[in-house]
Amino acid sequence: MEVDIVTPKHIYSDEDLDRTEGQAIEALKKSATEIIPDPDRWLEEELERNILLTSLDSILNWARRSSLWPAICFPACCAFEFIAANASRFDLSRFGMEILRASPRQADLMVTAGTLTWKMAPQVKRIYEQMAEPKWVIAMGACGISGGIFRSSYNVVPGYNHIVPVDVYVPGCPPRPEALIYGIRMLHSKISQRRNIEG
């Protein structure tokens, strides 16, 4: 059977793919007007009520925070500071997170290093949804927090917290590796307060 190169017959035509992509972006843009709250905000209230964690909780939290594996999802230039933090000088392997996972199913942490455009937003949301629970997000850099200098642009998401719930914000343009490591340490202390066992 000869292949018709001039008019390729896929299941979906190119026009269909373009239209579907455009509709998905428009739908996400319409729905993402509110800031998604941090799901772990209850931690602060619980601490005020002095609720103690069980010893099993502390072991689970220790295991989880000691091997945070980041997903590879670096849309823009903050990625280089993340790479610098990961390289030998700052050495993220001290925290057990030197392995970057290409598959989001094997990752715990999403470091949103860079400006996010609306065209890229459905893919980032999809990567977040593919990550297995429990999962955390660090918003790295001015663009990740609020859109930065591109906030009023026609094509930039004004902060990742419109798309995914964010746990820790690391300001800077870009933040130095020290700042990122401080943010990671804050996330560690947040994970260590997490209650896994109800009762």
Binding site: D18, E21, W118, Y154
Partner: protein, 146 residues
């Protein structure tokens, strides 16, 4: 080193072959009519003495009254360069002939100009948005956008 050809000298040659197509010629560039862009580009590419085999880039400028397209050409063999400009006065539906048939590198650049500036290219094989998504309203690099 690449030598920039004098626009006036090349314009005189173009005027002989395509009478009435050159609007204006300076030391740095030649302004041609938008209908004759393709014919002039074909001539510049296929004449052995000129041999502009490489299109560096196309840029589009919004001057409120008209859109101006700037074609930067280079001859790799003769090591000389030339700048061709053309204008499109229709703001509602600007159309310029496409040069993709001559330089394949023009493909994505013309799509980008169509996407962000709203200039249509007649004869382009796949003219659709490249940086923004289908269904986006308006052309953001126009001066009257927002």
């Amino acid at each position: 080193m690449i030598l920039a050809l004098s626009g006036k000298e090349v314009a005189a040659e173009l005027e002989q072959n395509f009478p009435g197509s050159v609007v204006e010629s300076g030391e740095n560039s030649i302004l041609v009519k938008s209908e004759s862009v393709f014919a002039i580009a074909e001539y510049l590419k296929n004449t052995p003495e000129l041999d502009f085999s490489y299109l560096t880039h196309i840029s589009a400028v919004d001057y409120y009254n008209y859109f101006e397209l700037v074609y930067q050409l280079i001859s790799i063999q003769h090591k000389h360069s030339l700048v061709i400009k053309t204008r499109c006065y229709d703001r509602q539906n600007p159309v310029i002939p496409s040069v993709v048939k001559l330089w394949r590198g023009a493909d994505f650049q013309e799509r980008e100009i169509y996407d962000l500036m709203g200039v249509s290219f007649e004869g382009h094989p796949n003219l659709k948005r490249i940086a923004l998504w289908q269904g986006f309203e308006g052309h953001p690099l126009r001066k009257d956008y927002l």
